[in-house]
Amino acid sequence: MSITLSEKDNGYIEGFAGFEKTAPGGSLGWLKSIREDAITKFSELGFPTPQDEDWRFTNVAPIARGSFDILQNGQGKVSASDLKPYQFEGEQINELVFINGRYSTELSTTARLPKGVIVLNLAEAIDSEQDILEENLAKYADFKDEAFTALNTAFMEDGGFIYIPKGTVVEEPIHLLYISTSGETPSITNPRNLIIAEDNCQANIIEHYVSLDENIYFSNVVTEMVVGENSSLGHYLLELESKKAFNISTLRVQQARSSNIRSHSVLLGGSLVRNNVHPVLAGEGCDSLINGLFMSTHRQHMDNYMKVEHASPHCDSRQLYNGILDGRSRGVFHGRIIVHEDAQKTDAKQTNRNLLLSDHAQIDTKPQLEIYADDVKCTHGATIGQIDENALFYLRSRGISKEASRDIILNAFTNETLESMTVDSVKNYCANLITDWFNQRKLAQKS
C-alpha cells in the first residue's frame, strides 16, 4: 500500500492515519503522542508563505502544491559500487546507508566503533534504545512552531541514531549517506537523525544527501544533536540532491557547558533548498562555529537560515557563510543571533560573503540581532560583489592568464570554507566537488 501526501483533500491528515498504522514504534505511547501532536501542529500551521518573516524570500509553493508518495520499498536497486562516488577516500568509515529514506543493512558498515558507542538506524533504535530515545527524541527541534519540523516529526520513521558514552573519542567519522533513487512520481522522505554525545566526547558526523536519478522528490530532514559538557563535535551537511529535488534541512544543536561544535554546510544540489542551522548555547563557555558554502546556478534557490541562540554567559559563536551564485539562481542568507538576558560576555560574530557570477543571479542577505543582555560583543557583516577587478589585474600583471587568475580568486573564496574543516578526507571530497562545479560552468560557457 502506498501513501500519498498532498494538501488536496486533507491528504496529509489522511496520509498520516495510514502511516501511523505501520510506523516503527507505532505501539509506543510516548512516540504515538509525539507524532499525533506533530500532525496536529502541522495541520494548524500549514506550509509557510512569504508573509511569514522567516520565509520572506523563499516561496515553498512548489512543495505545498505538490503531491508526494511515501515509498514503501525502493531497495535492491542500489549496489555497493553505486556508493563509491560518495565515499571519502582514505577513510576507514562507519557508514549508515539509507535508500529512499530507509536503512540498508547490506550496504552499511559500523564495525569500527569504540566500545559503548551505538550507531544504529532509528527504526531499530526505537526497539532497542527506548529509554534514550524517549528522553531525547523531539525534545529539541521545535515542531510546535516550525511546519517542516512538525511534518518530519509526524512522519519520522528512520534515520541515524548515534550515542556516544562519556569520555569517548570516536576517531573515524560517522557517515550517514542518504541515497535517492526515486521513481517517476514525486516522493517524500523524512530522515530523522538523533546524535547524543555525553560529557567529554569527540566525534565527527557527516550527513550526505545524494541522488542516483534526476527525479523530483522531497527530503525533509531534521537532526537533533545533543552535546554533553566539554564535548567537541563536528557536523557536516553535504547536500547534493538532484536538480529537481526539494531539500529542507534543520540541524538543531543543544550545547552543554564548555562544549564546542563545528557545523559545516556545503550546498550544491536541489532546486529549492532551505538549510536551517540552530544551535542553542545552553551552558557556560560554549563555542560554536557555523561554517557554510552554497553554490547555486540555473534556477536553483538556496536559503540559509541561521539561528544562533546564546542562552548562557561567556559563549562564543562564529558564523562564516559564503555563497557563489550563477545563472538565474537565487540565494538567501538570514543570520539571526539571539542573546538571552543571562548571556553576558557573549562574543558573537557573523560574516556572509557573496559572489555573483551572473547579472541575473540574486541574493538577499539579512542579519538580525536580538540582544537582551547588556555586556556583549556582536558583530555582523555582509558583502555582495563580483570578482574583484583589482585582484584580477594584480594576478594578471604577474604573468598569470586571465582564466587562471579568475580560478585562483574563486578558489580562494571557496577555500575560506574548506579551511576550517578538520576531517581531511571530507575536505578533499568537497574540494573536488567545487572543482567539478567550476569545470561544468566553464564547459557550459564554451558550448
Partner: protein, 253 residues
Amino acid sequence: MLEIKNLHVNVEDQEILKGLNLKVNKGEVHSIMGPNGSGKSTLAQVLAGRESYKVTEGEIIFEGKDLLELSPEDRACEGIFMAFQYPVEIPGVANTYLLREALNSVRKYRGEEPLKHIEFVKFAKEKMKIMDIGDNLLKRGVNEGFSGGEKKRNEIFQMQILEPKLSILDETDSGLDIDALKVVAGGVNALRSPERAFLIITHYQRLLDYIVPDFVHVLVDGKIVKSGGKELAYELEDRGYGWIEEEKTAANS
C-alpha cells in the same frame, strides 16, 4: 628597450597624459618625478596594461613589439613588472602560491619547464634573504594583513623572483621608514645589470640617494617638461616644482 611616443591617455574621459615621450635603453635607471596628479601613476598603469586606462593616441614599443597589443599577462611574460603603489590584498591565496604560479607562467611563455617545488624553494630562499622576508609572510594570503612596509617589500620580492627586463616602481618609497627604504633599494640594486632597466616613479628625492638614477624626468600636467641627470632631483628637492611650471609657462608664452 622601451620607447613611448606621443602618448595620450584618458581615465574616465579625462585626459591625463597629453603627449608623453620617453626612451629607456638597457641598463639605464630612469626616475620620473612630478607633483600630485601630473600623471605618474597613470603612466605606470598604462605600461602594465590596466584596461580602464584608454590610450587615445601614440604608441609604446617594447623590445620591438607593440606593447599596447599585449594583454597584462603577456606583458609580464615579455618582461615588464610593475610594483604597485597600493598592492592588492587577496585573502585565501598564499603568497608562495602566487609566486610559483607567476614564475611558472612566465617560464612557460618562454618555453621553459616549470620549476619543481624544491628548486623553487631554493631559489626563493636566496631572494627572501635580500628582501628580509620571513617564512610567515610567504605562507600568509597575498598582502593579507601586511603592514605598509611589508607590502612594499613583498612587491620588490616578487620582482626579484620574476627577474623582469623592465621594472616600474610606482611610488614604492612612499610611506616607508628609512630601514625599509634601504631594503627596497637593496632589492632593486641587486637586480641592476646591463640587460635590465628601471623606471622609478617617486615623489621624493630620498629614494634616489640609494638607487642612483641615470636620468631624472619631471612630469607636469601629462608631459615630460624637463629631463636631466641625478642633480635635477636635488634641485627639485630644494626648490619644489613651482619653478619648472613657471619655466614652462614662460616658454609657452
